[in-house]
Amino acid sequence: MSQYGVVLFSGTQAALRAEKLLERVGQVVKLIPTPRHLSSDCGVALRFSWAEQNEVVNTLDRARLAYETIAILDG
């Protein structure tokens, strides 16, 4: 089973921006409730395939979209 990573953003509109940017470059991503062990924020986080980590980070950096945390998702 492939492993997932998760990116946390400051707010939901930033997460939605990331979703669009990544989908535009062909990434398969999903917005999920922020995992509680990573943050007590009640918003959403963006889940992606961990193997695509570099492409995800590069895409966000190119758009100068800041994120809070990037982490591997257990299970």
Partner: protein, 388 residues
């Protein structure tokens, strides 16, 4: 819709709206009715995506790189208040034109009492502000220049690009009130060197009332801006302090997501019909109105009287008839809907010499038909003939 009515009050709010706008709002409330950015379930995300899509497409439409620097507000008035109260402090100097709407004048007059210094750049009888006047008024304490992109009284288009360049030269922020121009004239904030653009969704952009926003260009120190409202944002819920990041810093409380769904559809309608094509039709109707009214006896026409220098707004008076009577009779006898009076712009009317009585304003929109313009000219001709 009553098709016998001739609606020439698009400068107040555009009507009718494209059917796509109505459809988008109905679909939104039926299908994407969650609270955007609050809960993270699929209906909340569906609503959040609509709000984000509106943000992204509007940012792109106005030449703003980062969509998160577009903050939604209830209307252009709130956007202007956010900019003025957010940025100005006691001791700061502001320059405005003498054609400003009360959306700018009233906050400025209040801020004046709080210690902000005001200067007004005079405008000619056509409503046009001279660049030399603005330049003369600029000083080191000038924090902001604010200009109405196009007058809601005369339609006069101001030299925004030139004022923008002047503001960059003097390291002053530039706020543009685009109430009459967003969706009517092309606006690219990079090219025009605009720092803050305040727009409304329910006029040229063809969306519903209750929508608008403020674009914060890269030079705007948004972290230093004072807030009008604080509250829940769906983010950083563990903190009792307002978040600092955009757009949440300025967007507390549940947004008007249904309205934004409609605004997005309005914007898409404009993009699919091309701004240039819509402008061409409005310009030709404006030219017909200007020529037709100019030829009538007793009619006084205000503003540039040049379709290339104004948005589709025409102001006139009839010597010997009160503007309120003209407005009432056009409505009652001819089904023509217009706006008589001061149009919330006493400063502009002082400039034109029409204070305190005001003018009758006619403002066609993208759905105005050529034959409706002819009907208006015939009606005003009949009123004017009574005075001979």
């Amino acid at each position: 819709m009553d098709s016998s009515l001739i609606y020439l009050d698009n400068a107040a709010t555009s009507w009718p709206k494209p059917p796509e706008v109505v459809q988008a709002m109905a679909s939104f409330i039926a299908e994407s009715g969650g609270n955007p950015g609050r809960s993270g379930h699929r209906l909340s995300l569906a609503a959040g995506r609509v709000v984000y899509q509106a943000r992204e497409e509007l940012a792109d439409f106005f030449g703003l790189d980062d969509p998160l620097r577009l903050v939604f507000t209830a209307n252009v008035t709130e956007a202007i208040n956010l900019a003025l109260y957010g940025l100005l402090r006691s001791g700061d100097h502001v320059i405005a034109s003498s054609m400003e709407h009360n959306a700018v004048m009233r906050p400025l007059r209040h801020l004046q009492r709080e210690g902000v210094h005001l200067s007004f750049a005079p405008c000619g009888m056509d409503g046009h502000v001279s660049l030399a006047h603005v330049e003369k008024l600029l000083k080191t304490q000038t924090r902001l220049v604010v200009v109405n992109h196009a007058s809601n009284v005369t339609g006069t288009i101001q030299p925004i690009a030139e004022i923008g360049a002047l503001c960059r030269e003097h390291n002053t922020l530039f706020l543009v009130d685009a109430a009459q121009t967003a969706g009517v004239l092309p606006i690219n904030i990079e090219e025009l060197q605009i720092d803050l653009l305040a727009f409304t969704g329910h006029k040229g952009l063809l969306g519903p009332t209750g929508t608008g926003g403020l674009l914060l260009g890269e030079r705007v120190p948004f972290e230093e801006m004072k807030l009008l409202v604080r509250g829940g944002t769906g983010s950083r819920s563990e903190y009792e302090e307002q978040p600092e990041f955009l757009p949440d810093r300025f967007e507390s409380g549940t947004p008007n997501s249904i309205g934004l769904a409609g605004l997005l559809a309005g914007l898409q309608f404009i993009k699919s019909h091309a701004l240039d094509a819509l402008r061409e039709q409005e310009t030709s109707q404006l030219a017909r109105l200007i020529i037709g009214l100019s030829n009538l006896p007793n009619v006084r026409l205000f503003g540039p009287r040049d379709p290339s220098r104004q948005v589709p707004v025409v102001s006139f008076t009839l010597d010997g008839m009160r503007v309120s009577d003209i407005g009432f009779r056009l409505d009652e006898e001819y089904g023509i809907l217009c706006r008589p009076g001061l149009q919330c712009s006493p400063a502009a009317h002082r400039t034109l010499g029409t204070f305190p009585h005001g003018t009758v304003r006619l403002s066609p929109g993208p759905f105005t038909k050529d034959r409706e313009i002819e009907s208006v000219l015939e009606a005003v001709e009949r009123l004017s003939a009574e005075l001979l």
